[in-house]
Symmetry: C2
Subunit: 450 residues, 2 copies
């Protein structure tokens, strides 16, 4: 065996589902499907249950085997009918589950646990083509059919690429991760032909790359990577992928091709940072750290993280508007949400140079002069590079004072704004050590190490 | 009398030469001229002496009455002949002076003191028109003729505008001042008609303004103010005027028109800053002050100051290239030359974010990674906004260390470079107080107050 084959074999032995897992899953899926179909018949409903997702395609990573079972309604059913009857059937099923919970995407569905397996029971419309979908989830059965028609014999390649992307920390299209979805991985493998060919291709990727397997793209996309959905000419399957996560994959693909190894398939582990490590790191860097801590809104990650990232950007913008130079920022959420900023300095001189209008703009000059003339500024009004200037008192000489006074005025998402309104703390440098959660300390370690 | 007339009268009584001063000066000029002409006749030289400059035009400010006497040679004389014979005549004159000194502009001349008056004895060519000048000084007699033909009755207006510009600190075209020359003032007064009309016009000035009295401009100029020399279509009389000095005049003209007063005609006095005032000011501002002190090259101001200003710019550029934020800078020269910089902070974090190439530029990526991989940087190489990044050790974490190590590599003028090579000191904050010259302390006061 060559080096690559050895690595493949070793990784696959770890991630590829074994016979018992496969049998157990397919037995469970079959049983759930026939129970749903039986309920349909008993209630006189024109429904059929189908298994979709990676478990339907044989492309799930061992141990990560949530079942996605869709309850398909006729396309002429109304949305209300589908929601009412779909939920009715799902609830009846849930009665037999170990536990269950109603969730909401575009319409309600049920997440339940059967025999220790998580199962999503999702009502959807059985439309004739992907162009006619009524709800976003209606697309899934078409993805399923497309992949099933191409994937035979390539399942191992999908598993390897998924695991490689996990090792890079860029697998998953949720709004917390902004990475590669499972469907995107399947498309890349069928497009390029294998795991290694996908990596070979990625070495040459550039932002703006467009892959259109069916050559049917109908609109332009402005995302770093564009992979047109073979079942929907207007959709970019890679829309959630961020530029940096695309770049991480390009970089890791290059490195792997140069020097293959099993380590690429595992996410670099990071230890929680302890207090003394934190102090050593901070005194070595010479920067200032400031954190905003508040109660995390009780929302799912796909709602919470976009709001936290929006807040991260608004606050960075505000810090820079007030002359604080931001080196680095990050977001963490547990019960508390924490935004961390590394600053060149958390303090600035009291004096601030304030530029006014050009001297020859007489009207603006008048306004500027009457505002600052004789104010308790450090300097008279003077002229520099053709502009009026005055050295004034800086409004906020520390980042802490700025954030304490102005944070609520930042652009904030709805739930985060509500939470901030109830209160928040500004922590500086070693004060941040009062947050002790292991998971936060791991985040801090990554924040410094990258 | 209205308010303006009262002010005019009061200022003129102070600055307008009185009869005794006029008589004494013209007697001295007449006597020097006839002596020069006599020497010429005795030596068989075809020369004539003439009086030029403000004393020839009746536009000198009382007490500021250096005489400019030109010794005019025929235009077909050679440069060597003019220099040899011109200096011969001037030296013969100097024998009768209280003191004298040979100086060099485009060619040598003599500055001598007769009866307590400074007199420049300058050999020049008597060309037929300003278009035919051989040396730059040959232009002066044409300026003289042009002004004399227009200035009759406007002498008081010239005196008032000169004194107003002195009050603004922008009178004098030397390379230390970058202000308005006497000839420029005379042209402005004849062009606009009076002192008040010149001020009225200046209120509406904008950079890029062009005044071409003879409508004969032959080339384009890129200076803030362009006043085409009526005796030379290719020359801008206002070439030495800086944008800021032009703007100061615009601003002061507006203020004077709004609220006239005698104070505009006196330069704001400034006291030398004492040690305790300095400490109070610095602790209030919260900034850092850093000074470069070295032996001033023994050169005239028109040679020294352009080099000091060039150094001021080079050093500012270097400080900013190394991430120090410069709020303010200034230059002072006595026996020592001192450059002063006010910084947001004279210290920066040890950590510096260093951006590399875009991830998809594979060749540059390789070079960057092999340079920083495993170096003793703060971080791994990571990806941000599509670029490789690494957090490295900053080369100079203090401005003092930077200047101590890199100052000689700055772009420096010839004489300043030689002086810096012999040694220089970097002074920080209160160390600057070891420079005790009153004149430096006044400069410091202005530096803070503006």
């Amino acid at each position: 065996m060559n080096e690559i084959d050895t690595i493949r074999a070793s990784i696959l032995s770890r991630i590829k589902p074994k016979e018992p897992e496969k049998l157990k899953l397919s037995a469970l899926a079959d049983s759930l499907i026939s129970k749903i179909n039986a309920i349909g018949r008993a209630e006189g409903l024109d429904i059929t249950a189908i298994l979709v997702g990676s478990t339907a395609r044989g492309t799930w990573l061992s141990g990560e085997h949530d079942l996605d079972i869709f309850i398909m309604f006729p396309p002429d059913a109304s949305r209300e009918y589908l929601e009412e009857k779909g939920l009715y059937v799902a609830r009846k099923m849930a009665e037999q589950a170990q536990s269950s919970e109603e969730r909401y995407a575009e319409h309600p569905y049920i997440n339940a646990v059967f025999d220790g397996y998580e199962v999503d029971l999702v009502p959807a419309f059985r439309v004739a083509s992907a162009a006619e979908i009524i709800s976003a989830v209606d697309r899934t059965p078409f993805h399923n059919m497309f992949v099933l028609s191409r994937i035979k014999g390539l399942e191992d390649e999908v598993l390897l690429l998924k695991q490689f992307l996990k090792g890079c920390g860029v697998y998953g299209s949720e709004l917390k991760t902004h990475g590669f979805s499972g469907y995107l991985v399947e498309l890349l493998v069928t497009h390029y032909g294998s795991f290694m060919q996908a990596l070979e291709a990625a070495r040459e990727w550039k932002p703006g790359l467009k892959i259109d397997i069916e050559k049917h793209a109908s609109i332009a996309h402005n995302d770093p990577l564009v992979v047109i959905d073979p079942t929907d000419p207007s959709r970019n399957v890679a829309a959630a992928l961020s530029l940096d996560n695309m770049c991480i994959f390009i970089d890791r693909a290059r490195e792997f091709m140069k020097k293959p190894g099993a380590s690429y398939f595992s996410l670099r582990a990071v230890e929680p940072l302890n207090d003394s490590e934190f102090k050593t790191i901070m005194s070595g860097r010479g920067t200032s750290l400031i954190a905003i801590e508040f109660t995390a809104p009780d929302e799912v990650e796909d709602v919470l993280f976009p709001q936290l990232h929006k807040m991260e950007d608004s606050v960075r913008e505000m810090l820079e508007r007030y002359d604080f130079s931001v080196y680095n920022s990050g977001v963490w959420a547990g019960k508390k949400a924490v935004l961390v900023y590394e600053l060149e300095s958390a303090g600035l001189p009291t004096l601030k140079k304030h530029a006014g209008p050009q001297v020859w703009m007489e009207e603006h000059a008048e306004a500027f002069k009457s505002k600052y003339q004789g104010s308790n500024a450090f300097s008279r009004i003077y002229i520099h590079n053709g502009k009026y200037m005055v050295d004034i008192q800086r409004k906020y000489a520390t980042a802490k004072k700025l954030l304490e006074a102005e944070l609520p005025k930042c652009g904030l998402g709805k739930h985060v704004a509500l939470s901030i309104k109830k209160g928040y703390h500004i922590l500086e440098n070693e004060q941040i050590l009062k947050i002790k959660e292991n998971n936060f300390r791991e985040f801090l370690h990554r924040f410094f190490q990258k």
